[in-house]
Symmetry: C3
Subunit: 480 residues, 3 copies
């Protein structure tokens, strides 16, 4: 396997072996930094940051300069032709014809996917809204690996804004991929989004339990936990983790405590910032005196605000500045690999904690749209050319995962493109919860997010829907 | 002829031969891109963008990096000392002492001329307000040349915002220079400015006709045309293009259809954006099925908004992404030529479609100012040191062309610095439309844009003006 | 002495010998500019500009490029994670782990000191609020040196906004260090700040006199003077400059006239810009006809607004564009020296005009804070980790100089950490003007900026303060 010409949009784009291979290359590069100058001579990296950034942008640009390459840079959305209403697909095509690799940060979720689809050159996602930030995860894992020698089967606590924190989402998937146990503890109202939980338990081999389901009142614990994700050490344990083993699990030490700031810039207008701050978890000297943190790596993606006290900076367990430092060699390794100026040798694939699932894809381009207002596919400038696209990840209830932002959609109506064909009187639509959902072949399935949409495509209400219309007032879609 | 140390402010700064020579160098450079790295080693390009840009700025910067040079960059007007009230002439002198070449984009028309006047190093205009954008024109012509093998005598349609589109103005001059036929079709209220029309017909050998003057109602045509510019194929045909040949002209195919977006950022507060959008020309699949577009290159300077449908992207006639791609080699050729790190060999001059006219220059620095509110010479910070300067392009009526923005001014009063000398009682000013305008020698001519201005310089009303004052109420200047 | 790995935060960080050594290196570099390419090959400079700049940023970046190094750049505070509430100390640590040298401009006074404290790599102050701008001073002195062959013992006039002008402050210290005579002339309300005056007379060997104290009404003078700083040519003259010698001083010519613009962006909301502009000194042709300016170098740090007329540009005495030009070699010399890629040979130290004073340092981190609202140590995001720190520069009255912004604080109360120990009833605080201020040993001194603060730390009012409380209404602190 080679990484040449590939893109890194989500952390899923890399196998465990590829991640480990990048770490080896990063080790080699940081051991001989001066010799790397020239590895990317004559190459041009486009550094496109449409959201504020210091660390990530400067670390990517430093990485390219240390490799002897050149950088073209956008550091302010308002200074670009996106301000003139240009779509990011057009921008991607054009910049893709100038540069050799693109690094993109954008507030819209799924934006990096669109850029990767259109640029024609390798694209690296440096953060797309609240969705993912896979290179931060590489820095995080690399730091754990350097300090603990392995990243397999560790016990990691993720604290803070689990809802909006894109670094959290990417890291959680990566940890699951390496068979970790994850303790989730959010500020109130900042829990892990449903689509992330769902993905954790359907794409990886672990099991997610609400903490109170395991330990009751949580008595005797230092701090509340929302949930715990446990990877069984052997596949056959999968359905069979006794609650008692979780109890034991909670009593042993934590390998790393990863805390994030409240992502103020992603709050919705109805969120009350002051309330969200009030019971926000804080890491300070006192907390780190607890026995279970005795050997814990204290991690943070930075920037921090108040959730990580300055008094901890001198503590040898504090890793957050090391995480930042390691951003340069890890990104050097990544850039050189994608450009193909350095080959990484990837060991035989072995991803025991990843479930292979081949979800059917739904991309008819009509009938249903993503409901996430931050999704790139729903923006006015982008909807002109991006066709909605989904994976069908569940039928009970019918659940679509947006191909761009990965949020889930539960559309209420379905129909078939086939078995009514030619018989107009049979062209009917049904509730998505009805028996039809599973009886219609995937390639014939039509999905609608409203009755109006279904009817606009020439379908009439099916039997039960019609009846319900007569009953006048029952709720749609789930009970036919 | 060498391009070394010269500037490119308007497309007129390059002869046909020089343009063709740049294209040859661009061909050579794109065929051996890797070998160009080092051509500008140790050189520094200042990339000064005081208006939003992605494409143009990144393409210039990529070009410099591909040549192995370095870039210093301003991507936001608010982040510079212009925000402290500095004049662009001072800025130009200072940056000119740092860098080896300056690329400047600025909202004021004529700004690039000022920078070129003061920088002391080669300056490239990357767009000055609604005035010109000559390197976009080079990309456009280069694309046409690559696809059609020639840029001489083609038939090109220019559609969209002809009023504010600086790429349109530069391109129209360039096409005229190469003997093209140009079909103009604007959105309503977005016609070609008068000063551009005037320049087209006085500086080049072609003739501009309103379309309805040629074909009557335009019946049978696919789309309305504002005007058509025709270059006679032989000079002696100049005054003698029969209407019937234009009729024929309209029936044959178009070589290239060049459409631009509505330049929202240049609208005046009284412009109604919604109205301007309503009948804006749109290029889509349906349009391109028409016979006359069968072999037409579809061109656009990008960014696009709604005037060019995405459905056309896959059409082999679509050239707009190729235009963008070619921006890099064309700009590499230009930068290397101006810096003198590559010599271009320019064939013997032959510009048969350009009229040599030597207009008298008026630069007394008083009496009359440019009336274009976007002109650099009228800005408060610049008026401290820029003297108004004009070419006298016509006497009936007296017409001055601003040396900076090229807009036309029609000042109402004149006087002479000579023949009243010493005889104060004879120091009189006259209407610009009077016989005196042609009787006063150019070197003695004084021009005033108001009676107050004339009187402030010690002149009294001439006979007819005085009489008119008595008549009390006639309109000034045209009827003495 | 070597400059390698050192920082330049204030002009005091360089000895006279080091400054002269940098000038020699700059001479050498500008004589062989092409040979310098490669001197910093593989090095990365972070150029962090959190305030508008053209000249300084582009000149630093050009300098690094001319040395063959790379640049990572921030040109807009809003585009960085400081916008997310990050402290500059965190930012400094992170960027310090990416780059090899940092250049920082920031609106907070003392910000460069904080960056230098945390970055772990050489830091260059490119302007911190109204505090200092030492590299501008290097350009200024370098220009004087090139034109006058020496920078020792010259007579220099500093005009304009002496209050907010950071270039003025750095230059005044440097001139004092080289034994200059300085004529100060400010716009009304824009006089030199007290802390700068105090520093001039306590850290250097000269004497500062108000002009009217010297010459009475100033009759016969061309222009008003606020004050004059005179360095005696021999140390024993120190206390003994007769007024008559000053009179003579004023009649001879000025070596350089340095004028600055009104620093609008630093005015407080109560400043009336219009009033400040009204009697602002202006340098124009007429002024320069005066005999005392016959051989005067006309200098300005640029950008200028109205205080320096364009008509002077062509005058051979005008140096301001030369100052700008020389910014590149001087900054090349500085960067290469701090990075250690070029060694400068520094002659034996000889700073005859600098007084060695070893002020006691006060850094308990409580009791008293800097009162300058622009000081970095008082900003919300920074106060989390920066401990207030002061030099005790005077006891009558008690005067602290902030270690960050150098503004002076006059705290009203003191106590001792020692001689009350164990005897709670004796734990008293006193007025800072009382006899106790000098009786308490420096290492035991506690300082409070309010009674509340003193009482919060467990102290009770001393005898006189208590009495005054009974007298109810006398003013605090100075009369115990």
């Amino acid at each position: 396997m080679t990484l040449t010409k590939r893109s890194l949009v989500t952390i899923d784009d890399l196998s465990n072996g590829e991640i480990e291979a990048l770490f080896s290359l990063a080790d080699e590069m940081s051991d001989s930094m001066d010799e790397q100058f020239g590895v990317c001579r004559g190459k041009v990296m486009a550094s496109l940051f449409f959201e504020p950034s210091t660390r990530t942008r400067l670390s990517f640009e430093t990485a390219m300069h240390r490799l002897g390459g050149s950088v073209i840079s956008v550091a302010d959305a308002r200074a670009t032709s996106l301000a003139k209403g240009e779509s990011i697909a057009d921008m991607a095509r054009v910049v893709g014809s100038y540069a050799d690799v693109i690094v993109i940060r954008h507030p819209w979720e799924g934006a990096a996917r669109v850029v990767a689809d259109y640029a024609g050159i390798p694209v690296i996602n440096a953060g797309d809204g609240g969705h993912e930030h896979p290179t931060q995860t590489l820095c995080d894992l690399y730091t754990i690996k350097k300090e603990r020698q392995t990243i397999k089967g560790l016990k990691i606590a993720l604290w803070g804004d689990l809802k909006h924190g894109r670094t959290i989402h990417s890291l959680a998937y990566a940890l699951a991929k390496f068979g970790a146990t994850i303790h989730f503890r959010s500020g109130p109202g900042l829990e892990l989004p449903d689509y992330v939980k769902k993905k954790l338990t359907t794409e990886y081999t672990g099991r997610l339990e609400r903490y109170d389901a395991v330990t009751g009142t949580g008595k005797g614990r230092l701090f509340p936990l929302d949930a715990i994700y446990i990877t069984p050490s052997e596949p056959h344990q999968l359905a069979n983790i006794p609650a008692v083993s979780m109890q034991i699990e909670l009593k042993t030490g934590i390998d790393a405590l990863y805390v994030t700031r409240l992502q103020r810039e992603r709050l919705s207008p109805t969120d009350k910032e002051q309330e969200l701050k009030e019971n926000y978890p804080v890491v300070d000297k006192k907390l780190l005196k607890e026995k279970e943190f005795e050997r814990t790596l204290v991690m943070h993606p930075l920037p921090r605000v108040d959730e990580l006290a300055y008094e901890v900076d001198a503590d040898p367990r504090s890793m957050y500045f090391k995480q930042a430092v390691r951003g340069v060699p890890i990104r050097m390794a990544l850039i050189a690999s994608l450009l193909g100026t350095r080959e990484v040798s990837v060991p035989e694939e072995d991803n025991p904690f990843v479930r292979k699932v081949d979800y059917p894809v739904y991309r008819r381009g009509f009938g249903v749209r993503c409901t996430n207002p931050g999704c790139v596919s729903t923006q006015e400038s982008e909807a002109r050319y991006i066709k909605p696209e989904f994976k069908i990840v569940d039928y009970r209830p019918l659940t679509l995962r947006c191909a761009y932002c990965e949020h889930e959609v539960h559309p209420p109506y379905i129909a078939s493109s086939d078995w009514h064909e030619g018989k107009l009187e049979n062209k009917k639509y049904h509730g998505a919860g009805s028996q039809w959902a599973r009886r219609i072949k995937a390639e014939n399935l039509l999905i609608f997010d409203s009755e109006a949409e279904a009817e606009a495509h020439g379908f009439k209400p099916g039997h039960y829907i019609g009846q319900r219309h007569q009953d006048n007032g029952k709720k749609a879609g789930q009970r036919e």
